[in-house]
Each structure stands twice: as C-alpha cells, then as structure tokens.
Symmetry: D2
Subunit: 275 residues, 4 copies
C-alpha cells in the first residue's frame, strides 16, 4: 500500500510544489490534489517533473463537479471535468473521488434520481480517460440529520447505489473514520473486494461514543481509538495495494505545516509498523 | 385515439373471453389485461383469434414484477416477465405499465436506487421484445403520506426519473385522475410530447378539493368535474393516437357487469363527442 | 416543417453573419452551423441577437468530435463537445448530427465496438444539455467500397445500432439523397416514426442508376429525379415538424453566393409547393 | 486456485452425478455444467447435496442463450437464462461463460452491434442474480477465416468490447490454448487484472506452429508445449484465486472415462506441482 496525504491536517501549505516536496521529505508517496490546477500552474511537463523527481504520485484527483444542486450547476462543472480528467491521466493518476453526504435538503427520492444520472455521466466521462470514480460514504451521525431528509450512508447502500449507477469504473472511497462511525469493526473490511475500492482515507477518532463523533474533529492516525493497524492489515489481506491517504479534518492546528507533516509521518510510521 | 377498458369499473367479469366480447359489444377497441394468462388459458392461437374476431387489441399488458420490495421478490418476477413479454408481443401488444406510489415505508433514497436498477432491467427485457414500459405517476394527496417517506408524484419528477432510468423505451402512463389531483389543467397536456406517453387512463373526479380526492373513489368519465374532453383534445393535439383506457377504481358497484359496460360506453360517447 | 440550409451548396460565404442574414433574406428559417464558433466570434448575446433579429434558428449543431479514429483523437474532441453543447443549448438548438461512413479501413467489428462506446458517451453528454444526436446513414454505393471493410448504411442497421447505443436521445438524420441511393421509395418514409428523426437533409439526384450516384455530385432540390415533394409529404404525414435543410455537396459552382441562395429558394419553393 | 473440469476431455459421462462424484474422486474441486438441468434432474435440494457432499462447486454455468443468430433465437433463450441464473445462484455458482468465434457469416459491423446489445442484456439479467459473464476469446487461426467475415479474437479487442458492453459484471474467460494461439507468452498474463478474469480454462498444444493448431485437437495439461505452470504461476501472481478448468476439445479418445479422469488428474498434478 502507498502512503498518501491529502491537504487536510497539514495546516497552511504555500503551494502544490511545497505540498509535493514536503510529502516526499516526510516519507510519503502520494498526494491528493487537483491535477488540472497543478498543470495550469506549472505546465504539464513541469508538473510531471515535480512529481517524478520527488517520487510522488497523485493518489486521487479532486472531483470538482457540483452534482448536489441544480442541473445548471452540474453542467457548469462538466467542462472542467473533461479538462481535469485529461490532466490527471497525463500525470498517471486514474482515481477521482467525491463524498456522499448522508442527508440533504432536497426531497430524497428525486435527489437520488438526479445524483444517479449525474454521477453516471461523470463516471462515463472519466472512463474515457481510464479513470475510476470513488464514492465516499459518510458515517458521522450528526450529518445524518444535518439536513432535512436522510440520504444514504451505509456501505451496503453505497454498493447498491454503485450497482444502480451501473458504470464499471465506480467504487468506494473507504475512510477509516466513517467506517468507525458506522459501527463497523476492522475485520469487516475483509468482506470488501479489492476491486470495489478506489481509494482509502485514514484518520483517527476520539474515545467517544460513535454517535458523538464530529466530522470535523478527527485525530491523526495513531492518536485515537480506531484500530488502524487492523484496518490496514485487512485491506492488505484482501489484496488492496493502492493509496492510503491521511485526511484529518479538524479545527485549525497550533502546529505549523512542517510540524504537521512530521506528526503525520509519525502517525503513519506507527500504524504501518504493525502490518 | 383508441377507446379502451381496464377491468376497473366493470364489476365482476367472468372470464377474459367475456371481457373481450363485451368490450367489443359496447364499442370499445382495446382491453388492458395479462397477455400471459390469456395465452395460458386459451392457447396462443385461440387468444389471437379471440382478439381479432372481436376487433379488440390489448391496450397495455399487466406488469407483474414486484419491484417495490426485496431483491428476492423482484427476481421472482423476472421469469414471468420474459414469458409475459413473449406472449404480449405475439399478440401485438407492445405496451406494459406499472404505477409509482407516492410514498414508501422504505428509506426513500435507497429505494429510489433499487427501483431505478430494477425498472431499468425490466425495461431492457421488455425492449428485447419491442415493448415499452409506462410509469404511472400517482397524484392522490392521501397516498403521499400513506407510508412513512415521500417518494415522487409530479410529472416533472417522473420524467426526470425516466431520464435516469435511461432506457429508450420508458415513458409515462398519464391518468386523468392523477393529472387532476396534481392540480394540472388540461391545457398543460400540451407540454407533453406524444412520444413521452406510453398509455392513457381516463376517469373522473368528485367535485371536491383535490386534496380530498381518494384514489379508490373515482367516477366514470363524464360523471365528474374533470374536463375530459379538453384532456382528450389536447392529447390529440400533440399527436397521441394510442389507447385511452377507462380505469374506475371505486367501491363495489350496485350495477351488474353489463350495466357497467353500458355506463362506460355512455361516458366515453359523451367525452369523446366533443373532440 | 422548417426550411433550412447547410453551407453546402451556397458557394463562398463570407461569415456566419452573412449566412444568417442571407438565409432570412431568401426565406429560410434555419441554418446548420457550429454554435460554439458562432458564440466565440460574436459573443453569446450578439449571436442570439443575430439569430432572433433574422427569425433564424439553428437547425443542427456541427458535431466536431472525431469518433472514427484513435482514442486520443476522440478524447481530444470531448472538451469542445461540452462547450459546443453549452453554446448550442444557450441558442436554443437541441440537435446535433454526425454522418456514418459505410466503409472503414479499420477492422469492422472492433471499430463498431469503439464507435458504439464513443457515440454513447457523446450522446450522454449532449443529453445533459437536452440535446439529441442524429446519425446520418450514407447510402452512396461507391462509398461502401471506398475503404477496406464494409460498415453499415441501411436504415434498418442504423436503427439497430441506435438501439445498441441505448441512449434515449439518439435518432436518425434522414437525407433524401441517401434515401434514394438505398433504393427506398418516398412512401417508405411512412414506416419511420417521427420521434426517430432528429434532422432531415434534402437534395436531389441526377437521372442515373443509383449505383452510379456520387456523394459529391448532388443537385439542388427540384433539379433531379427524387420525388422530394413526396418525401416531404410523407415526413409531414408521420408528424415530423422539424427542420428540412438543403445540403448540396457538389463541385465548385459557377454562380456566386447570392445566386446560389436564390437558386436554393427556388428549389424549396417548388418542392414545398406541392405538399 | 481451484482445480476444475469441464466435460470436454472426459469421454462419455453417464450422468451429472457420475461427473460430480468422479471429479471428487480424482481430486478436482469444481465442474462446469448446466445448473438448470442439474436442478431439473435432481431437484434443488438433492443437487445441492450432490455438490456439497462431494466438496465440489460449479465452476461456470453453461450459457445457453443463442446470441449469434436471429433476434427470435436470441429471445427464445432469455427465458431459460433467467431460470438458469436462479438455479445457478441457488447452487452458489456466480459465473457463466460464452465463447466468441473469431469470424462470422454475418456482416461484421451489424453483428457486433447486435451482439453488444444482446450480451449486455444477458449480463444485466445475470447481474440481478449476482452473476458474472465471461467472454472467451478464441485465438485459433483456422477459425479466423472459417466464416466469411473476421470478428474479434485478441485480448485487447475483447477487453475493448467489454468496455463497450458497459456492464460491470462482464470479464474474460482466459483459455491457455487460445492464449498460446494468439502468440502470447505466459508472462503477459501479468498484464491482466485479477478482476478482469471470470474463469480460466487450461489445456495443452501440440508442438506445431501456432498457425496450424486446430481448435479441436488439444492435449491434456502437461502433454504439450504450453508452459502451463508459468501460466498458472502468473495467474496466481495477479491474485487470481478462482477456478482453473480443463477443457480438452479433441477427437474421440480411446481411453474410457475413468482413465480420462485419471489422466486429467495426472496432468493437473504435474502442472500445479511447479507453482
């Protein structure tokens, strides 16, 4: 498995260049970012060089299409989706992910119909570039009632939905925090098939009843109560060899960015040590 | 347009043979029924003869797949769907319809995902036989809250859903009663395209606020307050030339079946006269 | 039906502005063009004004994706497809067409697989903008052996293919010249359904055996042997109310552009007179 | 990996019961057969008992739909497909395979369109039962010109086609003999992904130029020139853990069925020994 980062949990990062070089410096092998903006900033060649010279790959490309609101807003994003896919594929990143909020202010049934139609089109566009789309189920209990109507949050419902979307390149983003808030044990990872997983996030949880865990108050791997070594061991057991990226959504940290990179490295060293 | 019947509103019908011959006798041109059971009762040849010798076509084939409950129940129906489609096509009926209840005891979003997947498969199977699938939106207000969670009922949401199902052979069953309970005027039929309509039901409504109209207390065409002539005129104006079938869901009638056929004929004569 | 033009047969047109104003001047109601380039030249507002002030609509938007060669070339066109669809929809044009050559230098079966996949994706992208995609079958006999392997050219095979593509918004572009070279009589138009037709081209043919008719030697409506009035009558009979656009592919004309507009008007006047 | 058998290469087998008990007796773990006919012969319960008591699973269910000829013949098979899928799933077999002949008497492009449409529908029906559909590419050179028009035979074209079929549950049946006749080395198995493979066949080839190898003159594993141990090693390396079934298509053998089971066991012992 590949040790990866997202920007969440790293404080203020000055630039994608700093992000990439620091990731390498602290022993990481991948970063999640927006490949289109990377290419727009540095040019395709320089962007590729930045990654290669640091032995860093892109773990997952940011998905910038707004599929949760109006048709107009959705269509607005399609153009950049094509550009993003092209940039991403040119940088050898073939994963792209979006999260699925567990409730919505829209009526749930028509929203599900619209979301299915929109994500299928996005998946098909991504498919033309050899890319996969990962859907991240979001388990946090407070978000299930944050908006008017419940949507979906369980692994089973997400897999069912993927079957409905019916594009061969759609799978799960499995996040250890959401896994935990769903009340799932790490052994239950063994019930997934490797090919169902597009991407993995890890981060840790406070020692609280899962009903009280907040989406935006996560801990660094190793700091909390989730058996992340077990989680990783079981991902390995089912043959998953892809990226495992830290995504610590949390209030503004007191440490600076370098300290946070170091802290992240430490966390990864500890949870990866046991697998 | 073709004057058609369903069994709803005709009292106790002894047999499909009586249904067909009486339909003809009272000036109707089509009946909705289960073509598979017709073929099983009479044999394919005799079933065809029964229809042809009475100048009756099948308006819409009964859809017997249970797509609203478990996967097991759904799969149970697939076998007979194939047989029904074969029987139906062999009798030159290429329409098949199901209704969409406006609420459900299941969580709405996963139910929408399952329903989309199931109806797409059914539509694709029907498509192999050249058949179309009509979805009947159900407007009655009391049914919107009959079960725990709202599903969909508007024309717009149903058309959106059809787009999501994404099979070229899915369209609407437009029922005048549901049209009325949605608060739509008959002129709004003009906003539909002929090819969006698979089948049409007509029946009439009591002079009550639409919120109070019950699904199971309908009137015969011409007995109530719906401008059915206008409804038909506008269907004709958009080029609809298919079946218009009466479907009077109502408490057990005091009249006998012959009287109800006669009453139905009268109603049709009156509302068709003006178009 | 709407009298339309394509640029083929109009000689040297200086600009889209001239194209539009001359179309109006000579009694036409629509032009086929590239809406993206129109918007890029004049801005969206001015483009809309140009059309509206001349009472001209866009009949069909040029389809600029290269779906006939490599995956790279195909992907290259996707970005502009999204932009084109946006421009087109903003100008109220919801049709887009591409032609299907009847032979190919690629092995026919894998090419059919690739073409199906690519056109489905294009259709789905267009569908997000409410647009339809018309496939033009090409009947000319010499083109059936122009390249190594036969592909498809008959109406039946094209409709079958559309069923395989399985996107609800794909239909036919029916061109009178190709209709004629397939040996079809104008009455056979009656076997089409209105909703199967996205767009119509008319142009006329020399009095030659259909096997000898060249794709690039067409005549103006009324100049040749095709019963274009019958063709139009039957389109009308099935309820087609869309655009009928002239597309006279022919060697460089001796007349100037104004004369060719006038000649086109004359042809349309004559063939439309009889319907 | 699971050691499996098909009936090809086992001489005259009296019954499915003999097939299953002998498979077990000679150390095999799976058999390919028609689960519907198994259930029809023995009843569901007894069929399940027959398999379980012998520790035998069904490797792949026979696919009995005729997707290569007319629409009528295709539709004829749909009914039994549903029944087969139900029987198969009830016996815990979730694989089903069909072979793709490398040439056809039908025009290649329309045949590809029809085949795509038909196999997608079959795959979707199978999908409702959790089943996958494996497509077997057929490399034999003589079959590429056996019928009028070339179809497809390469791994790449088959994978491309699977992408076009666009059902998430379609993959490859990889047969060592066809692999060999395509001129592929066993290391090239490493370029496949485990999840692309639904089923595997092994059998061996005479020491002849691959152009001369006949489809119906295969050898038992270990008897010929294919590096089957290498083939299996590389399947294992990519994580394949499914069934590897012998399928020795060959002229009528002189040995009796027991001797052929024994011979098959020997072959498997030898090629599996080295992995």
């Amino acid at each position: 498995m590949i040790r990866g980062l997202t920007k969440a949990g790293l404080g203020k990062i000055e630039s994608d260049e700093q992000y990439i070089t620091d990731a390498a410096k602290y022993g990481f092998q991948s970063v999640d970012l927006n490949p289109l903006s990377l290419v727009q900033q540095y040019g395709k060649e320089q962007a590729a060089h930045l990654l290669e010279s640091n032995d860093i790959i892109i773990g997952s490309a940011d998905f910038t299409v707004d599929w949760r609101n109006s048709e107009e807003q959705f269509r607005e994003g399609l153009k950049s989706l094509v550009e993003m896919a092209e940039a991403s594929a040119s940088l050898n990143c073939f994963n792209c992910c979006t999260y699925v909020l567990p409730s919505t202010d829209q009526p749930a049934a028509p929203f599900m119909a619209a979301a299915t139609r929109r994500l299928r089109l996005c998946a098909d566009i991504l498919g033309a570039y050899g890319m996969r789309l990962g859907l991240e189920f979001v388990g946090c209990h407070h978000l299930r009632t944050q908006w008017k109507n419940p949507f979906i949050w369980s692994v089973e419902d997400t897999l069912d939905w993927i079957e409905t979307i019916h594009a061969p390149n759609v799978g799960l983003l499995v996040d250890s925090y959401h896994w935990h808030t769903l009340g799932l044990r790490t052994e239950e990872v063994l019930q997934l098939k490797k090919e169902q997983i597009v991407h993995v996030h890890i981060n840790d949880a406070y020692n609280l009843p899962i009903e009280e865990l907040l989406d935006n108050e996560r801990l660094y791997p190793g700091e909390g109560v989730i058996d992340l070594s077990g989680f990783l061991k079981n991902l390995k057991a089912i043959g998953y060899t892809g990226v495992v990226a830290q995504e610590v959504l949390a209030p503004a940290p007191t440490l600076n960015s370098s300290e946070l990179f170091a802290k992240s490295k430490e966390g990864f060293d500890s949870v990866f040590a046991a697998i």
